[in-house]
């Protein structure tokens, strides 16, 4: 059971979400700072792996972060290496496993109270995906939460579909296979009823869908008001399709305008999500915006903030992560612009110049040992 200090933080967080969902501005710098540092102090006391890491970063009871910007951020991979929880994980209401990466073992994000995740999810989704409050039919290329309960993406779309959908949501992704025939039938049915849809899927799954539709020269004209949420990118995939190309193909195949295609950016290790800012969706550069309880620093490889406008790695501070780690470092690169961040692809690493084996090449090798017996 959540202790009193945790409940107080949760209440404050939920009040913040409710205020923003109701049209308020959320929290200013000082309110965010106070909440973030209080959350970190709570975690420092109860989350032993985080405390050890913070101590190694020079933080102690006597030397607490002076601002939220100084809160030590755990690497996203730490969720694989340790149990980052302020509570007994067996009491977690939600447990999400990292996926879509090539890591050998999955990380786990234990969330003590589903209410925080649900509130943050719905507030963000409502504002950025459903500002006109339609009842859409959700056609999902994400894991079915019934069969993959530890997929944060499956949970997210399952939750939205139940609470915001027309009751006829369907899933067309099983492992890496897309059910194109089932999807076509479902979209045809929605078109016949002029029922607008929300198609949600990972970029990888959507690319696979397009490959099959294009091979069969199959196109649709999705009902007016339809939209598409793309997420997940191509993390851990050998095949990468340019986003602009992907969106152009989606528009051509599904009849959904580019402006109605929204990229969501989230992580299993976070409770909250970023979305494309509405005003940037028609432009070449999409700006990602977040609810006010999620802020992001742009840092260099050593964790120092880079000057405004410069590219760096994204460090997220998510007040929704009350029961795990409030600050998380990522491998994602981006830069800050007015009102948000621009997310860059994961293909910015310099190409290897030599004949050394790298992880990608090792994975691509047939697993034949070269050792003598």
């Amino acid at each position: 059971m959540t202790d009193a200090a945790g409940r107080a933080l949760d209440d404050a967080f939920l009040a913040l979400v409710r205020a923003w969902a109701g049209g308020g501005e959320g929290c200013d710098e000082s309110a965010f700072d106070a909440h973030a540092r209080a959350t970190f102090a709570y975690q420092f006391e109860r989350n032993e792996p985080y405390r050890r890491f913070a101590r190694a970063q020079g933080v102690s009871e006597a030397r607490a972060p002076r601002t939220w910007r100084e809160i030590p951020a755990v690497p996203a991979t730490a969720f694989k290496d340790a149990t980052l929880a302020t509570f007994d994980p067996v009491e977690a209401e939600l447990t999400f496993h990292t996926s879509g990466t090539t890591a050998a073992t999955a990380g786990k994000h234990y969330i003590e109270r589903a209410a925080l995740y649900d509130a943050a999810l719905l507030a963000g989704f409502d504002r950025f995906m459903l500002p006109d409050r339609p009842k859409l039919r959700y056609l999902n290329f994400v894991p079915n939460p019934r069969f993959r309960p530890h997929s944060s993406l499956g949970y997210m779309m399952g939750h939205v579909a139940v609470l915001r959908g027309d009751g006829k949501a369907a899933y067309f992704l099983e492992d890496d296979r897309v059910d194109v025939a089932g999807f076509a039938k479902a979209l045809d049915a929605a078109c016949a009823l002029a029922q607008p849809v929300c198609i949600a899927g990972t970029a990888f799954a959507l690319a696979a869908l397009l490959d099959e539709l294009e091979r069969d020269a199959r196109t649709f004209a999705a009902p007016a008001g339809s939209r598409l949420m793309e997420t997940g990118g191509f993390k851990g995939r050998a095949r990468v399709v340019e986003r602009a190309e992907l969106y152009a193909r989606l528009t051509a195949a599904l009849g959904i305008a580019t402006e109605a295609i929204v990229a969501e950016y989230g992580m299993t290790e976070l409770v909250s999500q970023y979305y494309d800012a509405p005003q940037s969706r028609a432009g070449e550069t999409r700006v990602k915006v977040a609810p006010p309880w999620l802020r992001t620093l742009i840092v260099d490889g050593d964790g120092r903030e880079v000057p405004a406008g410069e590219t760096g790695f994204l460090r997220h501070v998510d007040l929704g992560n009350r029961s795990s780690a409030v600050a998380v470092d990522t491998e994602d690169r981006g830069y800050r612009v007015d009102g948000g961040i621009v997310l860059l692809g994961r293909d910015l690493d310099a190409p290897a110049r030599g004949c050394s084996l790298d992880a990608e090449a090792l994975l691509a090798r047939p697993f034949v040992s070269t050792l003598s017996s």
Partner: protein
């Protein structure tokens, strides 16, 4: 002088010119190599010194005599004890595809194919090192100009690749598995194929070495050079180092010695990049997090972007990242062998402490490790000409034996 002797002398003399850092073609090529690779000048100079310094006349002659019995066998029949007389003819056409390598890896096969008397075509890199060296060869012996050409073309140009490779009697190719597979698919059925895929190198430090301060210093300093040269991007770059537990110096302390030695080596061979890759950053952060949990140590460079990680998870392969060395404490060579086997690591070379003959179990491990070269720490990146690169001979792949019996 015999035809083969003239060719050998021309190759050696041309190489000798290239050992002079002030030789204008080398100066131009050095700039081009720095521009292409991003490596710093000391690193490029080191590479060119080692590359051309190895191609001395004596070393070339010794290698050819070692593999063919005598240089004269390239010009006619020679007698052999207990075997029929033999002559070696160079294959008519040799192609070398150096698509995915650090610096000048095509030079050695080019030198031996020319010595064999073959016509050689080299797919060069943008720095045109091979073309520039070819001009020097032609100056030494004009007939070599007729036997050698190089060019730069897009590997995706299948017509160009097929025209070159389909007509070759032997093809040497460096590159990733998919590149090698594509090359293999273009060869004539009877063509010889010498594929050099991406590999890595490892090292093993025994507790006997840890009991001798002189060997500790040599191993730590040598390991640092082997790990940092070419930013850890060569197949001879050290990426995994196994250190025996329970030595006079414990493995963790030895790891710290290696990290300190890396700080020194980084002065001689500075990093050829300024920004860390996302994969490197992610690995460093993860290592720091694990170290904070009491699992191993993450020893970052004081002023340079290298990282020595002690006791990383054995269920993960070594990081295989730039300037990143993983050090694993082990009880016996069997542990190291099990690690290599578990992760399917293809080894190019294995470094050992250089002073004494290795312990029997270490030698057995080295022979079974899959490496084609065993070297002392600090010399991994300096392979001798007389060694069999990748387990194959130097000149044997480019000749056909004709015996008289």
């Amino acid at each position: 002088m015999s035809p083969a002797g003239r060719r050998l002398r021309a190759v050696a003399d041309a190489a000798e010119r290239w050992t002079n850092a002030d030789f204008p073609p080398r100066v131009r090529t050095t700039r081009a190599l720095i521009a292409r690779t991003g490596y710093t000048e000391p690193v490029v100079d080191y590479a060119l010194d080692r590359l051309f310094g190895a191609l001395g006349r004596d070393a070339l002659l010794a290698t050819i005599e070692g593999e063919l019995g005598s240089l004269a066998a390239l010009d006619g029949f020679v007698t052999r004890t207990g075997r029929p007389d033999v002559a070696y003819r160079g294959l008519a056409r040799v192609a070398i595809v150096s698509s995915d390598t650090t610096i000048g890896v095509a030079v050695f096969p080019l030198a031996f194919a020319l010595c064999a008397g073959s016509r050689v075509t080299v797919k060069d890199r943008d720095d045109r090192l091979i073309a520039a060296f070819g001009e020097t060869l032609a100056q030494e012996l004009p007939e070599l100009a007729e036997r050698f050409e190089s060019g730069v073309w897009d590997g995706h140009d299948e017509a160009a690749s097929r025209a070159l490779l389909g007509a070759a009697d032997a093809v040497v190719a460096f590159g990733r598995t998919e590149t090698l597979a594509a090359v293999r698919g273009l060869l004539a059925p009877e063509a010889r194929f010498l594929p050099f895929g991406h590999r890595t190198s490892a090292g093993y430090v025994t507790r006997e070495a840890l009991a001798d301060e002189r060997q500790v210093a040599a191993c730590a300093g040598g390991a640092a050079r082997d790990a940092l040269l070419y930013d850890g991007e060569g197949c001879l770059s050290l990426h995994a180092l196994f250190v025996e537990r329970d030595g006079a110096l414990d493995a963790a302390t030895f790891a710290r010695r290696v990290a300190a030695a890396c700080d020194v080596a980084a002065v001689e061979f500075p990093a050829g990049y300024h920004e860390l890759d996302a994969t490197v950053v992610a690995y460093r952060r993860a290592a720091l997090f694990r170290a904070a949990q009491g699992r191993g140590e993450a020893l970052a460079g004081v002023t340079a972007p290298h990282l020595v990680v002690f006791d990383p998870p054995a269920d993960e392969p070594p990081p295989l990242l730039r300037r990143t060395l993983a050090i694993y404490p082990v009880d016996t060579p069997s542990d190291a062998s099990a690690f290599l086997r578990r992760h399917g690591l293809p080894l190019e070379a294995l470094a050992l402490a250089g002073d004494a003959r290795p312990r029997a179990d270490v030698e057995a491990f080295a022979l079974a490790s899959g490496a084609s070269r065993i070297a002392a720490f600090g010399s991994l990146q300096d392979p001798p000409l007389g060694g069999e690169h990748g387990g194959a001979g130097r000149i044997l792949p480019f000749v056909r034996a004709i015996y008289r019996a």
